[in-house]
Symmetry: C2
Subunit: 336 residues, 2 copies
């Protein structure tokens, strides 16, 4: 299993440019908070847990780049950076969580040097914790998979969506590590094809058998009995719903109709038990993502487009939530 | 409403190259049966009813191009052409239907001149009949739509899928012509994007309001109450199932789950009441269709791909079949 990281600190903040995969594996160094925000918005770094680390490292980066010698000014700068970073992808709860955690760790320090050190230390801890958590989560979830299972997944909830290991794909990795043979059906995940670009790539790297399909093929595969389980990640889990990549809800309804278990694998940092589905505004993305394929226009000029980034799957369609603290079958929820 | 045709005879066989839409509207002349077969296989001409006309005109083309003066030799040539054309897209029942109909009309003639004339006359009749049938079908289906309805459709069952007017979009056109305001949600229809390329283009040409979405957004729109009805076309309707573009089944299950009517609009020539779902082999298409977007590789080299052209929706998920002979609610079927 590949143990390399998606985002890391090495004399500065580095991340793998996921928009270049699967063609090229290119690490890029973030020279400013603005560049990090651009990387978040253009999905060079994406995936709920990776965004948590990106948010955390973003504050460490702001501290590292700050030129002030006044700790109060520095904290004020970090707070400004925090707001900007959090606003860059508002639906992703982990982003805010990572930002706030590092901001809190830095805020009580008395010198700029201490602030810098505390911010980086906390960001590193967020990143290392992410891998530890995913491995626990993976181990908990692996028990739900049987030898020989065919598992459908949507988008990329793999190591590329995290600092390492992965959530939904982490469960699959842990099952494979435990000696189970798992075949993955990876949905391409329109409009940005994280399934074809990232999930298929990751699994091939780890020699886990994978078949790439279009999102619209999930139902007919289920009807043919070729899918045993569905596992997806999550961007935010409110009291009543799982927000995840657009298309998740379709698979959830189809799984219910075909009596196939539908699992959501997510660390506790994804849970937002203060809000309900109705409170959450789902970001709509650029229509061009649907109107063009690899830069070639495929839709007529001026066509109206609906392009939400996420959908909400009500918890009653979720068979179980797989977390680092165990497996919870709704309405049972993890203590957060 | 646009009354122009998708396929026609004008000193030879012409068709609109649908792979060039929506960018360019290019008519191409078929200089051989082999070129027509290439056009069918590469989806320059596609859609069940249009394929019926393509098959019919294909025999007329074979007769037109034949150099023999012996009527028996000419019939033998037409029979060979018929087999080749029918094999080019085996799932499409209309293709065989059109081929056989013209072959039958030509076979009883005594001179090569008579064979040529009879083949072309019958092919023209197939094409004109297609438009008449779609208009009847449209009128029958329009009664099912209410003023203000939002209608989801998949793939392109429009005038581009027919000789003219359309089946699923024909119903929408007829409703609009009858003064009803209809808003269409067009699914892009992966992997070949007939929804974005063709359906959105057609509807914009006719000033019918259309919103383009990814296939995986249908469920969340239904859950939000934004879809009143679903209408799709069909490639083949057996005793027990509707074969249509891959992804149709997903929408059918989602419509059932959300208690939304799911309509299939298809002429009687699409019905194949001699076969059951299990008898039909669904063609699998080139993996490259999923691995590349507009020529740019988006999936890792060597990835396994599943790419069926069609799926089967069992009739119990179909609210009604809309035909030129009226509206039939399964298990009621039209007399064919």
């Amino acid at each position: 299993m590949c143990e390399s990281r998606t985002i890391w600190w090495d004399g500065g903040l580095w991340l793998i440019d996921q928009t270049k995969l699967p063609g090229e594996l290119i690490p890029i160094k973030m020279s400013s908070v603005r560049q990090l925000i651009e990387a978040i918005q253009s999905l060079r770094v994406r995936g709920a847990p990776a965004l948590g680390a990106a948010g955390a490292y973003g504050i460490a980066l702001a501290a590292d780049l700050s030129r002030t010698s006044n700790p109060f000014d520095m904290i004020a700068e970090l707070e400004t950076a925090a707001e900007m970073i959090k606003d860059s992808r508002p639906t992703a709860v982990n982003l805010s969580w990572g930002v706030d955690r590092v901001l809190r760790a830095a805020s009580s320090r008395e010198s700029t040097e201490e602030i810098r050190e505390a911010a980086l230390r906390e960001a590193e801890e967020v990143a290392e914790e992410d891998i530890r958590i995913n491995k626990s989560l993976g181990k908990n979830g692996a028990k739900l998979l049987d030898d020989g299972d065919c598992v459908l997944t949507h988008c990329n909830a793999g190591r590329l969506a995290c600092v390492g290991w992965g959530t939904a794909l982490g469960v699959i990795r842990s099952a494979v590590q435990a000696g189970k043979r798992i075949h993955v059906y990876a949905c391409e995940t329109r409009p940005l094809n994280q399934g074809s670009r990232l999930t298929a790539w990751e699994l091939i790297q780890d020699d886990i058998p994978v078949t790439l399909i279009c999102d619209n093929m999930s139902g007919s595969l289920m009807r043919k009995g070729r899918i045993d389980k569905v596992i997806v990640g999550a961007d935010r889990i409110t009291k009543d719903a799982v927000f995840n990549k657009i298309g998740t809800y379709n698979h959830a309804v189809l799984a219910r109709y075909h009596k196939i278990p539908f699992y959501v694998a997510a660390p506790l940092s994804t849970f937002d038990q203060r809000h309900e589905e109705a409170d959450i505004i789902v970001e709509e993305r650029d229509p061009e993502e649907i109107c063009s394929l690899a830069g070639k226009r495929v839709a007529p000029e001026g066509v109206d487009v609906y392009n939400p980034a996420f959908d909400a799957t009500p918890l009653d369609l979720v068979t179980a939530l797989i977390t680092e603290k165990g497996v919870f079958r709704p309405p049972l929820m993890p203590p957060v």
